[in-house]
Amino acid sequence: AQSVTQPDIHITVSEGASLELRCNYSYGATPYLFWYVQSPGQGLQLLLKYFSGDTLVQGIKGFEAEFKRSQSSFNLRKPSVHWSDAAEYFCAVGTSYNTDKLIFGTGTRLQVFP
């Protein structure tokens, strides 16, 4: 069965430090993958997506993610974190082109210290 694992429930970094949020997926076919961000009390915003081609994808707000098929991973990175990046981050895998259903990980809460 398809699944998404985000092993880190909570991560704390200092402002200006680099960031990597981990995401591992289980899917039998070629996946399409997403990262979303959610601020408290808000909906989810799409950061970036991967379908095929270049395994390093760029997103909004200075984020990037790298698809590694051999490791079944799609980790999210940012070279320098800003205090406004504090939020909940969700990784998701698409399971069907027709229905566009997504399976979400349980999320990683990012806290940024000044």
């Binding site: 009390g41 989810l44 915003q45 698409g94 082109y97 229905t99 566009d100 259903k101 997504l102 349980t106």
Partner: protein
């Protein structure tokens, strides 16, 4: 550009009362529509999705139901709310294939 609206933003209801949450999408045609629930401190649970008017698929058994009376309108309902129905309800849309889902601002439901 496309926008998605949800209302109300916040709702407090007694146990046993009915529920109606509405979601509408603007700027796109024939979208797929989704209802999710997010319990406190937890991930997203897909409740229903719809690929067209009157077509509803339920993902989990529960006392909630969904309807799609118009192309860009998606309604979540209940005849009698339970305490366990409390949570943050999110509506989303997509235009397949594979471009991702786009979420509304959500409705915070508290059942007392």
């Amino acid at each position: 550009s496309q926008t998605i609206h949800q209302w109300p933003a916040t709702l407090v209801q007694p146990v046993g009362s009915p529920l109606s949450l509405e979601c509408t999408v603007e700027g796109t045609s024939n979208p797929n529509l989704y209802w999710y629930r997010q319990a406190a401190g937890r991930g997203l649970q897909l409740l229903f999705y719809s690929v067209g008017i009157g077509q509803i698929s339920s993902e989990v058994p529960q006392n909630l139901s969904a309807s799609r009376p118009q192309d860009r309108q998606f309604i979540l309902s209940s005849k009698k709310l339970l305490l366990s129905d409390s949570g943050f309800y999110l509506c989303a849309w997509s235009v397949p294939p594979g471009l991702g889902q786009f979420f509304g601002p959500g409705t915070r439901l508290t059942v007392l």
